[in-house]
Symmetry: C2
Subunit: 269 residues, 2 copies
């Protein structure tokens, strides 16, 4: 099974329930986990996650610390990805990941790892890069507006979704609606902090964590003026479908029909 | 063989050499061509191309004239795409295409048509939509700058390339360089007016027409500050590879190694 695990940032390090789920899905004591800290400007980010995953029982964990394109494609790095059962992209700035790794042999190896069932997780910037077109940066606010969001090519494990993170905390409804209006075939997935959307085979989504996952399905849009609106003006859209799902809820998207299971509020604490 | 045919806009209607190539590659007298005029705000765009393709010897040509999402998925439209040997997206505004067709069953049918060998052509806006991440709009100028370009999800036949059009005429080096810096695995294809890049199996590119096709290969980039630069400032980049290819030149991209054939200038007139 192919598994993507985008996380909304601001992981709770006191109660690392999301990272525990990642370690368990990667194989627990048998896990071979690779951390990719390139999004972060801090030198210690990689080793922080290495220690955390080890403390949560992961068998092997390494961080690939390169910060130059020419250092991406070493035999050591490529072998680590080939053997990984779980890969984790840290937070920071998403374009640091794509400009360093995009177009390398390592990028090809990462995609092969995804296809063979290696869990591909990422938090904040690390969640954004998982899609073919990613939100690179943008503005906050509830209303979709022209130029509210800047997209660029993501690392690209899937073209079914576009991910936004810190969703409720940074007030990002407007920018995610905008992207879905531009292409209603792309499901918008807005993920709150310390929350994960676990996506199996690009089809079945399970919500995990403290906050909500907001799913914007544009396939029902009757019309919008997104192609015409200019100069920062608000965008009009009709019949956008939105789901706000909390821990334990699931979303199934088969042949364009969504099946939602909403469960009562759960406490992880 | 899968064939994409992005065209740089401003087709010469006196000497329709590009459209003739499209009709011939679609099967000539046996061709079943479908025009998709949704990018255009002009009611007569579809019928113009229908008449032109018929005058160039195409067997059957129709234009699908819907302008509402709910009108995309008629049996008539879906059957036309299933039977098409050539599909042509007209110019206009690329987001009109993606917001109308993205997420419809017609979009799925278009992708299946591409996979079975139907020629997928588009001019100007119609060229932009061919990629997974597309340039939606932007500014002119030779220097890549933060916010010079706005991307959004394209109709998405390929994630290997991003296409820009009216390339030399509208001075678009800066914005195409910017996109390639953000993800150096995406080949930037800048197409001049009345010029086509014919792409076979996402690998072999042949240039056809009056102008040039500019290919920006970011895989050689040593470093850039695209992830750090702010507020409209210029982006620095080292070791970007550029090719400027004219009619008859070919570009082969196998396993990351480009093979270029440059031929002496040809005249189409």
């Amino acid at each position: 099974m192919k598994i993507l695990m985008p996380i909304g940032g601001a992981l709770d390090h006191e109660n690392p329930h999301i990272m525990r789920e990642f370690v368990e899905r990667s194989g627990g004591a048998q896990a071979r986990i690779v951390i990719l800290p390139q999004a972060s400007a801090l030198a210690e980010t990689g080793s922080h996650y290495v220690h955390q995953c080890l403390s949560l029982g992961a068998g092997q964990v390494i961080s690939l610390e390169f910060r130059q394109r020419h250092a991406a494609d070493t035999t050591e790095n490529l072998d680590a990805i080939e053997e990984a059962s779980g890969i984790f992209f840290t937070g920071g700035a998403q374009m640091r990941i794509t400009q360093l790794i995009g177009g390398t042999r390592l990028a090809d190896a990462l995609y092969r790892a995804y296809l063979r069932g290696c869990v591909i997780a990422g938090t904040s910037a690390g969640a954004s890069v998982l899609s073919k077109t990613m939100i690179a940066y943008g503005k906050s606010g509830p209303t979709p507006r022209e130029r509210i969001v800047q997209c660029s090519p993501g690392l690209g494990f899937t073209d079914r979704f576009v991910f936004d993170q810190h969703f409720r905390q940074r007030d990002r409804w407007g920018r995610l609606i905008y992207v879905v209006c531009t292409h209603p075939g792309v499901l918008g997935i807005g993920i709150d902090e310390d929350t994960a959307a676990i996506i199996e085979d690009e089809q079945h989504i399970r919500v995990y964590g403290k906050g909500a996952v907001t799913i914007l399905d544009g396939r029902t849009i009757s019309e919008s003026n997104v192609a015409e609106v200019e100069a920062g003006r608000p965008v009009a859209v009709g019949h956008l479908t939105a789901h706000v799902l909390t821990a334990g809820c699931t979303y199934d998207c088969v042949n364009g029909n969504a099946h939602i299971t909403v469960v009562p509020s759960l406490s992880d604490e």
